[in-house]
Structures are given as C-alpha cells and as structure tokens.
Symmetry: D3
Subunit: 70 residues, 6 copies
C-alpha cells in the first residue's frame, strides 16, 4: 500500500517502553537523530516490534512545526 | 524556551511553496532524508523562512505511526 | 508494510478537490458514512488518486474525540 | 453545538480499556469496521462512557492519510 | 453533544481568511490571547462563521506541547 | 528559537498527573480557562515541570476545530 504521508523516515528501533495502554518506540535515523513514536500497546504487539527492527516513522506534514533560531 | 516535544530534527530548508493560506516547507536532514512541514503562510512570513536556512522540524510523538515490512 | 495505526477504514473515493497546496479527498465507507482527508496536492498526484479508487483512510487513535448525546 | 470537523462517524462502543491517564475506546461502525479513540481517563469518566453507548467518533480531515494499493 | 476533548476555549471570531480549500479563523479569548483554527472552507460555510461570532476552539490534549523558559 | 506554531498561550501549571509513559499537565490561562497537555513522562522530567511554573501551551492551528451554538 502506498501512503499519502509525505514524511516516511527509515530507521532502526533503539528502545521500547511498554505501558498499560501506550507504548513508546524510539527510532534511530541513519544520521544519529532520533524519532519517538507513541503508539498503542496493542499495535506494538500486533506488529511484534523489537529492538533492532528496521521500521519507518510515518507522520503527516500538517503535524510538523518549524523552529528557527534568532 | 525548552519544548516538551520529543521530536526535534535539525535540517536545512530545501524548498518552499507558498499558497494563499498554507506554505509547504521541505527540510533536508543530514542523512539526506526529507521532512515536509505544512504551516500557515503567515508563519512562514513571520519567521522569514528562506531556502538554505538551518531549521528544526518539531512534532509530537503522538503524531508518529510505525510501519514495518512483512 | 504493516502500520501501527489502529484506524484503517476501507472505502471508495467519491470526490476530489484540488487547491494550490492541498487536496481534499472524500471517501465513502460501505455504510454510506463519509471520511474526508486533507492531503497535499503533491501526494494526491503521486498516488494518482481518482474518483472510484478503492482506498484506505488511515488515522491514529490519538486524533479521535468521542462525542455523546445528552 | 455544531462542529467544524468534517469527520463525525456514528457508532456503538464495543470495548473500553482504562489506564492511569489514558482510556482506549473501541467504536463499531454500522458497516462492521472499527474506530479506536484514545482519550483521557478523566474524559471517559466525565462522559460516563459505557459499552453499548451510541457515540460519534470525531476527527479533523487534516489528520487522515490516504493509502492505495499497488 | 458532549465532547471528550479536554480543551474547549470560548472566544470571539476576530478575523477570517478564506482560501480555495482552507479557511483560517482567528479567535480572541477573554484574556486577549488568540487561537487560530485552520478548517476547511466547506466547514466555514456550513457553520456560517462570521466575525463577532461567539465560538469554541476545540482541540485534544494530545496535540498540545509545553514550552518553558530557561 | 522562534516557532511557526500560531497558537502559543501563556499560563501557569495548576496540576500534574504522572503515568508510566504519559503525563497530564493542566495549565491555567489568565482568563481562568484551562488547557490540558498530554506529554510523555520523559518530557515532563526533562523540563522539570512543577505546579506554579509559567509555561506556554503550544499547538498548531491545523489541530483546532471550531464549535458554534445553534
């Protein structure tokens, strides 16, 4: 399936923290920067996410702010 | 000001497209991947965004989905 | 690619309106209810979206409010 | 109160999971498809949400991605 | 209809800018601070929004970042 | 850093609730209205958020719905 989302960053799962309802997934990009995804525990189980997995962080461009120094 | 947002990716503006109300800002990360931000035209003017500017793409972890092959 | 998004509703494109930067996509669900997606014009072109296409409306559960009468 | 939100899908609550801060509400649409809403525990209590309640899943069109096969 | 959204700020419409697809609505709060809502042109017409209207700005708590000086 | 976000409301933290992964921050505006932010526990710790702190609630205009009576 192709997605309309403009932002699809490839990386590797570096850390997973599980809560009752939520799961926090830390993804490392090739340049060393990190993206954090908060998804449901259920989705984390369904995708069987594991540290080291190659994944894609997907988010819409409407969700992104721009910050500029000065 | 420090921000609670977990995702703050540094990059350089590579392209700007202006509409009546919206502006589309394409930011290139150090690893070559791109992040697109849709902000208001007014905000783009206020920050005086220009191609080549060093900026930060900021978004909450609640906005990020995870995709996994297979 | 499998997605963590809990909400993936299948439907058919019923209407497309194109702006300079944005595109408005109206998707009809099997029960007759409609979902509207605002995506970028660029994404609409890239996916070559057409009226009648079978598509999936994808959104995170964090984006959904609940309304109740009374 | 009328809402600007384009997406207002009517359905019935099928499952509720409560966490410390979050609550996960599963809503079944008339066509059998499901929508999941992640809201705060506080809001779930305030609306007194119960399985079987007729509710509306409300979300903005800016939050919806489109997926297309092929 | 009662809404799960925790954030429901009352104010008055101070400015409206219409685009092809989007409409920008500026709402002034009682304390003088402003909230901007980007909605579809279609929704703006449907609600017949006018300058001076008493309205409510509604958004989920998952969408809000916190900024702190120092 | 200047932010593109149109909505930057100043207020004071009135309550903090901590979960495993999430933290709920209640911010009171000068006019007495409240804004609730759901951020990660990690971000709450990193910013060392405390009741009484002067903070800014930041959110994009794309996240805001408009409600109107009648």
């Amino acid at each position: 399936m192709q997605l309309s989302a403009r932002n699809q960053l490839k990386g590797v799962i570096k850390a997973i923290t599980l809560g009752n309802i939520m799961a926090e997934i830390v993804i490392q990009l090739p340049d060393g920067q990190e993206v954090v995804a908060l998804i449901t525990f259920t989705s984390s189980e369904r995708l069987n996410l594991q540290i080291g997995d190659q994944v894609t962080a997907i988010f819409k461009s409407t969700e992104v702010m721009v910050g500029k120094e000065g």
